[in-house]
Subunit: 226 residues, 2 copies
């Protein structure tokens, strides 16, 4: 049974591309929204546009200039070490951007109101948990409630990867018929490296994001063989 | 008893200026944040900076380019009638900006995290209720919960005007010793008119915001005399 319409919050990474494949198999109408928040590597946005093009879905790139002004994360400030702890919040990783998902999901919710879309699909995940508190169910449930109250809307957030490991996300991509696109087109690497295609995809093969992806791919292969 | 530190979400209007006076009498350290979201009348931002200067509090102007890109409100799109119904949401006024307060408060919350501020003060009000669902207690309570969950923070939102009429807000400004600044410096008028100083302040004397302010002033005078 197909649902009505969905907006995929789409970074062009493995998780949101898998969500896009999942959504395309379940909704009559699918759109994507990509955020240009002045992240270090513009390659992410290029790949998002490329993948949306390959899969023939509309992609809206919306620029968010808030985080660059707050300048509070190693994901934006190139002078900081991405692998250290956060400079103002030692309990969080340096790559933590305060309220990033809150701003992303609130903006996506405003866009869904404008376009009359029913569901918002995000690839957030609390299993391969990397220390981001804005990737947990209680957070997104509270935010959904707040945003619908604040706009007299009834838009639902869905997060089909929330309980999956990276290996299981590869498995889902295969099941949804999108694994080839995930391997060849998605970008995850913190260092923006797309010089070499490994069996698990492009990347520097050294940053935490590459490590996680490679480990997930190995587990996926092992589980898939037996 | 003084509290620690507060961030006032500061538009330069009557309500947030009254909140600033209120906060200055209750906190050891007060800062203000003003949002430049490409609203029709830049005069609001000028007045916010002017008032912060007069009251000797830091003011940070942060540009938010999201709403201009969504282009979904008569407050931003100069071609729309500010007094009509919203073009996509007939149950809401044309001036409704989808998720405006959600974006403002989420950004303020990120700034408070960065600066180590304990409370966020906003002038939202559900009494002189003009049809904005993002000015109600259940909305802001849910949002506060979501933002703190999503960032492992414990920042409290306070909204001292929430149950006040405009007349009572004038009364509070008087009590907090800030009435003169409210009358002469704050900007409320939807049409950006600062050509004539009335006894209730500057404004076109015709738009809904001026009507509300004038009515509140008259009620304040009447109640204050008896």
């Amino acid at each position: 049974m197909k649902h009505k319409s969905a907006l995929v919050v789409f970074s062009g990474g493995q998780d949101s591309t898998t969500c896009l494949g999942w959504a395309k198999n379940r909704y009559d109408h699918v759109e994507t929204i990509t955020f240009d928040y002045h992240q270090k590597h513009a390659i992410e946005i290029q790949q998002a546009q490329e993948i949306a093009n390959i899969l023939n879905v509309p992609n809206y790139v919306l620029e968010i200039n808030i985080f660059a002004q707050l300048d509070d994360s190693a994901l934006i400030d190139a002078s900081q070490d991405i692998n250290a702890r956060h400079k103002n919040r030692p309990n969080l990783p340096a790559s933590f951007v305060p309220n990033r998902n809150a701003i992303f999901f609130t903006t996506a919710h405003a866009y869904a109101q404008k376009m009359g879309l029913d569901h918002i699909i995000t690839g957030i995940n609390q299993t391969d948990y990397s220390g981001y508190p804005d990737c947990r169910i209680p957070f997104i449930e509270s935010l959904e409630k707040a945003l619908n109250l604040g706009s007299e809307s009834d838009i639902k957030f869905l997060y089909p990867l929330i309980h999956l490991t990276k290996a299981e996300t590869f498995k889902m991509a295969q099941k949804e018929g999108i694994l080839d696109t995930v391997i060849k087109e998605t970008h995850t690497c913190y260092n923006g490296d797309r010089s070499k295609l490994h069996d698990w995809g492009y990347g520097c093969d050294a940053c935490p994001a590459c490590e996680l992806r490679k480990k997930g791919w190995k587990e996926y292969l092992e589980n898939d063989i037996k």
